[in-house]
Symmetry: C2
Subunit: 417 residues, 2 copies
């Protein structure tokens, strides 16, 4: 018996899935690899990493010594280690984002939360509203499920929710999902106002659209008053798929996060995660659980807030001192990021080109177009103020100015270089 | 402006993706949660976990204390930590499954390798050949991408490759992928013979089908001679997507594995992984790397092989002593699993029903139908011999006999209970 009667495919063409063309990867993540191989001194404003000094290494080592045992070295329950679920829910009860154990599934960081949301909700061709600019790793995940992205504008109060109906009318169809980062947005640093949170929930219900509510920074407010989370405003809402992580408040290397969903959806979340990775790293879950259980998270977060405010203020001051009115920036009340827009004749500089020059000068950032689904914002860039000390950050801003000077000179020289 | 002119969906129906119906979850993983809440004494033959005694806890604690530092607590490169890539490739050079650094991407265990394979190759409706019985977590992942599964029979030499052309002819289309576990297959324990390895590679090229080559147990051969891996038989083959893991040889809780693919495919693998979880847990990668670097893996594996052979032989002996000719089993030359088929009048017992009775008697296994895409093998079950000491395993087999006796009695009594 042969199969000669079937069409056979060319050896040259691999039988890839259609979605392979949509697996575009993350400019942000790739910059980790790019920067890792640079041998010269670089001030790193690019990655959204916590300050090295902010990671409680000594306590992690102490806890690791205790939690590395048989129970943490075998397979864990897909929904998460019971001790972590319990500690996390108890901790969150005292925050603006409370939840309950039957709503939580532990994930491998926030990215897996986004993967789960898309796996459960996104069909190829579905429309997903994303903020402009946005955390493109989130939109890359949606693209990997075949989503079509619709960029929605932002202002100093976050996503301009009142602009969505017109955008949706122009698109001619309702969105399957709205992807938002409500607090200290990545990359803009802005926060969704309370009235807009209510409006967003209303629109989601009008359209029966899921809100993918990605909030890695909510516990890192260092100015102003906490706003209630979307979950807190609409408890038990089945259209809210909330993505959280310990990456920004403890350590990204641990890859521990969680999603907060309608309990009716939780079995589907667990099923989807079983097809992804069985369970999150078990000792890391125990390290986080024990850190919370020992009562260290509150003072740890208080310390982070104080330090990150100091770093944000200091970076703003460095920017004023060295770049003056050549740039404007947002002024976040928490989180990790400043969004910087070039002004005047500097606005002619392409931040994609500036990236190369700046790297040569010894400073790294993420250019605006890497943070927009449609490659907008070539006159803007993202700076992470969290991971660099004020002294080192000032040096980085001086290098940034040098790079801008070089780019501007090249432009004035006719750009025929 | 309103959107009244758009159709709005009913509040009751969540806007789930079409694939949500295919997110069926894993019976194997769910049994972890089920067994975790049992309060009575249970001999656990169900999970494919290494022996507790096999995990080098003291060395892991010592290494953790050293590797928990700033570099392991931040984001890692998506392709994996350079120190692990290097140590792994150097180690594998001395095995029947050599590779090179440009072929390897570190994953969150073997499951993520399967997720990556499906993400890159499987379109909804694609035909995927799976072994019968198979590791259903693999087929569950394929289902989550909308694959249609075609079960192919096995014998004592693994997948009956020569049966595939007829099966494919009957299906009327060529498979997009062939999912095989060539060594000490989960759950049957059988190994794909060398001639069949060659035939499988030929067929894959004839059909331009990807071979998803899942080999968690290859380094755990305790009898007979190592066979070259499919990768070793066809170096640089773009149709081989090989999935490997440290779960069975070090510790599943670490969630560290790797995939071995054509370097031309690697950027796509990295892009896909970036949309999943950014990178694998970083300290776990450093723990594995340092364990290998210290030279401990060879003697560790030698110890595992000796102990797992002892446990396999002892379980066979217990089965002969307590169940005699009421069952037949496969006789694996490595790995974790025995496949047990009920004989004679015991073959009337449903192992799905037996599972409940056995749990009450204090012994757990995975019933055959949970290990078949089509729910076959209701007269068979999987026993993990690796995780239980011989003394404890004998007690488990005695309990299994009691459960079989009860089931048989119920059947004889007319089954009207």
């Amino acid at each position: 018996m042969t199969v000669d009667h079937f069409a056979t495919r060319s050896r040259a063409a691999l039988p890839l899935a259609d979605r392979a063309a949509d697996l575009v990867g993350s400019v942000i993540d790739s910059s980790t690899s790019l920067l890792a191989v640079q041998t010269h001194d670089i001030v790193r404003f690019a990655m959204g990493s916590p300050a090295d000094e902010a990671v409680p290494l000594a306590e992690f080592r102490d806890i690791a010594d205790k939690v590395i045992d048989h129970s943490s070295m075998t397979y864990g329950a897909t929904e998460g280690e019971p001790v972590l679920l319990k500690a996390l829910v108890e901790y969150l009860a005292g925050t603006s984002d409370p939840t309950s154990e039957e709503r939580v599934t532990i994930t491998a960081g926030g990215m897996q939360g986004l993967d789960l949301a898309c796996k459960i909700f996104i069909n190829p061709g579905d429309l997903v509203i994303v903020e402009s600019p946005t955390y493109t790793n989130g939109s890359v995940t949606a693209l990997s499920y075949g989503a079509e992205l619709l960029e929605a504008p932002m202002d100093e109060n976050g996503l301009i929710v009142e602009a969505l109906p017109e955008l949706v009318a122009a698109a001619g169809r309702i969105p399957k999902a709205i992807y938002t980062i409500p607090n200290f947005q990545n990359p803009s640093g802005t926060t969704l106002s309370l009235p807009r949170r209510h409006q967003l929930l209303e629109l989601a219900h009008e359209w029966n659209s899921v809100i993918i509510d990605d909030d890695p920074y909510g516990l890192l407010r260092f100015e102003g008053e906490d706003l209630p989370s979307l979950q807190a405003l609409s408890p038990g809402d089945p259209l809210l798929f909330s993505v959280r992580t310990f990456s920004k408040i403890l350590a990204p290397g641990l890859r521990v996060g969680w999603v907060d969903t309608d309990p009716a959806l939780r079995q589907l979340v667990i099923n989807a995660k079983q097809a992804m990775d069985t369970c999150a790293n078990v000792p890391a879950q125990h390290i986080v659980a024990e850190f919370i259980r020992r009562g260290g998270l509150d003072s740890h977060l208080a310390g982070l807030r104080t330090e990150y405010k100091r770093r944000k203020d200091s970076m703003q001051e460095s920017l004023r001192r060295h770049l003056g009115d050549r740039v404007t920036t947002t002024d976040p009340e928490g989180g990790f990021f400043l969004w910087l827009t070039l002004q005047g004749e500097d606005a002619r500089i392409s931040t994609r080109k500036l990236f190369e020059t700046a790297l040569a000068e010894g400073v790294a950032f993420i250019p605006g177009p890497a943070l927009s689904a449609g490659g907008k914002f070539d006159d803007a860039l993202r700076l992470c103020f969290a991971s660099t000390t004020p002294e080192r950050a000032e040096e980085g801003i001086i290098r940034l100015r040098r790079a801008m000077d070089r780019e501007l000179e090249a432009l004035k020289g006719g750009g025929n270089a």
